[in-house]
């Protein structure tokens, strides 16, 4: 099993651990090779010692040589001893690579397929969903049941005291927090998705059940049109100076009803910030907030309908809106861009980076508390994924391993051990304010990252070496009625037309929907500047520039 290319940064009570698992595995392989060479050296030394001993029978002067060589062979600093030490070093490197490997293990990679196959197999019977739900419950509380069974085995006649019962109830109440912290939550989610999928007919035997179920539900939702409303007087937001500043920009982009949103900021607002550097160059930062509405088809597009579409890999309104906002802001094709988002916003940022490959010079994507989406940024785009170990939202993709594609700087922070709440609630663990602090910790740790690392290069490309002059524009995204006429001079945004729910004979799904769409077509439509607008109902939008 190979390891995924990328860096792993763990922030816990022992400080930070930064590991490049791929590098470590290569180093370990080289060390093992060196140990083998030292074994060979030991054999050669033994041969020389034997020859010297043989010679000593005739030449008294050779006695000292024979003794010296034999002693060296037995010494801890002899080739054999050194070979053992080098192997130990190789083992340590391999262990660290395995502990911080970003890639799915073979078992993890097979898990989704197994769950999918299970869902497919049991769906034919009337008890299929029940069996899957039982399996999910077993994964969730299996450790408690095993502990109970062990106690019964050790003391079959033992009686439970009131204190024991209270402790058991506390353990039971703590299950959600524990299965999130140890990653079992993702497995439970996959089983639940497989159960629901088996009911709805989304049980492809070889497919990720979470994605397939999300795509199925998202495909059933009605198409929504997007309208971008420019903010006439957007706040003056500071230029980001690192990962902390980037996440802070996303935090300030939330609506004023939140703890971090700037006063007057409406729901579902997107920030596009232009950075004019002293050397005349220009770069951009696009910040996207997360989910703020529980519904599936309401007027606020940052809702669960968008979450399902993003997770299922089908077209979503927020990706389309951000593309239109970027086009409207006038981002040049060769001007470096950083995309940052919290929660759903990170999923959108990743999607946008994937869709705009070759059209914009996206250098960096920063996601905070975001589940993975099927699309991945293209090679050359540095990615930073921030995740709190106690954050349940980032597990909603059903993934077991770390987040982000190849080349990602994957950050996992233990909130309780690094100055966060001791027992954070799910909302505390997911709060964007906590991720701003995590960004600050990442900035501190970046000093240990090689200067040529893609993330450091991307940060320098976009943010520059010195503070830049900033121009902030914001647009508010709404999903208005298709009948809303286009505003004069506005920016038409094509409607999101969802593909029909994937269907195939015998209840199995066929090929996944074509998403992301071809970049050129999408950008032409999103920009709307002379491009053809689809025949469907459209609305208009503009962007504001401060």
């Amino acid at each position: 099993m190979g390891v995924r290319d990328g860096l792993s940064l763990t922030l816990d009570g022992h400080g930070h651990v930064l590991v490049d698992p791929g590098e470590l595995q290569e180093a370990a392989a080289r060390l093992r090779g060196a140990a083998e060479r030292l074994d060979t050296a030991d054999v050669r030394l033994g041969s020389a010692a034997w020859r010297a001993g043989d010679l000593a029978a005739a030449l008294p002067e050779a006695h000292a040589l024979a003794d010296a060589l034999a002693t060296l062979r037995r010494a801890v600093h002899g080739p054999a001893g050194l070979a053992d030490d080098v192997r130990d070093l190789a083992r340590r490197s391999t262990d660290a690579a395995a502990a911080y490997d970003l890639a799915e293990t073979d078992a993890q990679a097979r898990w989704s397929a197994v769950v999918g196959a299970l869902g497919f197999a049991v769906a034919v019977g009337p008890f299929g969903p029940a069996a899957l739900l039982t399996a999910a419950a077993g994964v969730a509380v299996g450790d408690l049941l095993l502990a109970e069974a062990r106690d019964l085995a050790l003391a079959p006649g033992g009686r439970t005291s009131p204190g024991d019962a209270a402790a058991e109830l506390a353990d039971l109440a703590d299950v959600p927090r524990r299965i999130v912290a140890d990653g079992r939550g993702a497995l439970v989610l996959q089983l639940l998705a497989a159960a629901l999928g088996s009911v709805a007919g989304a049980s492809g035997p070889q497919l990720d059940p979470v994605r397939r179920f999300s795509a199925l539900v998202a495909g059933l939702l009605p198409a929504r049109d997007v309208r971008l409303v420019p903010r006439a007087d957007p706040p003056r937001l500071p230029a980001p100076r690192g990962v902390e500043g980037l996440v802070d920009l996303a935090a300030r982009t939330y609506d004023e009803g939140t703890g971090t949103g700037e006063p007057g900021t409406p729901l579902a607002t997107v920030t596009v910030q232009r950075l004019d550097h002293a050397d005349g160059s220009r770069s951009w930062v696009v910040a996207v907030p997360g989910t703020r509405a529980a519904g599936l088809t309401g007027d606020v597009p940052t809702d669960n309908g968008t979450n399902l579409a993003l997770e299922g890999g089908v077209p979503d309104v927020m990706t389309r809106a951000v593309l239109a906002a970027m086009a409207g802001a006038g981002i040049g094709a060769d001007e470096p861009v950083a995309l940052v988002g919290h929660s759903q916003g990170g999923m959108v940022a990743t999607n946008v980076a994937a869709v705009t490959a070759g059209a914009y010079a996206v250098r960096l994507v920063v996601t905070a508390g975001s589940p993975d989406v099927p699309a991945a940024p293209p090679p050359g785009v540095a990615t930073v994924t921030l995740r709190h170990r106690e954050d349940a939202v980032s597990l909603l993709d059903g993934r077991v391993g770390e987040r982000g594609g190849p080349g990602t700087l994957s950050v996992v922070r233990d909130l309780a051990a690094t100055g966060g709440p001791v027992r954070p609630s799910f909302s505390e663990a997911h709060a964007v304010a906590g991720y701003v602090r995590t960004g600050a910790l990442v900035d501190q740790a970046l000093g240990d990252v090689p200067a040529g690392d893609p993330v450091r290069r991307a940060l320098a490309d976009v943010l520059g070496d010195a503070p830049a002059r900033t121009t902030t524009s914001q647009v508010t995204v709404t999903t208005g009625s298709p009948e809303v006429p286009a505003a004069p001079g506005g920016l038409p945004v094509p409607p999101v037309v969802r593909p029909a729910p994937p269907a195939a004979p015998d209840g199995a799904f066929g090929a996944p929907a074509a998403w992301p769409p071809p970049t050129r077509d999408l950008l032409t439509q999103a920009a709307g500047l002379g491009g053809a607008v689809s025949a469907g109902p459209t609305t208009s939008s503009t962007t504001a520039r401060s």
């Binding site: 860096l7 763990t10 022992h14 400080g15 930070h16 651990v17 930064l18 590991v19 490049d20 590098e23 470590l24 180093a27 080289r30 060390l31 090779g33 060196a34 140990a35 060479r37 030292l38 060979t40 050296a41 050669r44 030394l45 041969s47 020389a48 020859r51 010297a52 043989d54 010679l55 005739a58 030449l59 002067e61 050779a62 000292a64 040589l65 010296a68 060589l69 002693t71 060296l72 010494a75 801890v76 600093h77 002899g78 080739p79 001893g81 050194l82 030490d85 080098v86 130990d88 070093l89 340590r92 490197s93 262990d95 660290a96 740790a445 240990d448 990252v449 090689p450």
Partner: protein, 95 residues
């Protein structure tokens, strides 16, 4: 001669040792921080010190080998050649 064989073997040992040293030094360039990395770094430093000690021991062995080689030459040099006597006049006791 036996010393030639020993010399060749010790040269091989040096070559393998040098190669291993390069790998161990190179292993310090990987991106790895934290307590485990610090521990590994300590092991690496100790290992490189051991490599130096091994090399010093090989230097000592080389000096001893040179002495053996000189003795071997003296023994092999036929006495008749040195004295002008006919070749084959002396047979070494070990030969």
């Amino acid at each position: 001669m036996s010393t030639t064989v020993i010399e060749s073997a010790l040269a091989d040992v040096r070559a393998h040792l040098a190669a291993a040293q390069v790998v161990v030094v190179g292993a310090s360039a990987v991106t790895w921080t934290g307590a485990a990395a610090d521990a590994a770094d300590g092991r690496r430093t100790a290992l490189l010190a051991a490599v130096r000690t091994c090399r010093a021991a090989l230097d000592d062995a080389d000096r001893l080998l040179a002495a053996v080689r000189r003795a071997e030459r003296q023994c092999v040099l036929p006495a008749p050649l040195a004295t002008g006597a006919p070749v084959g006049g002396t047979v070494p006791p070990w030969g």
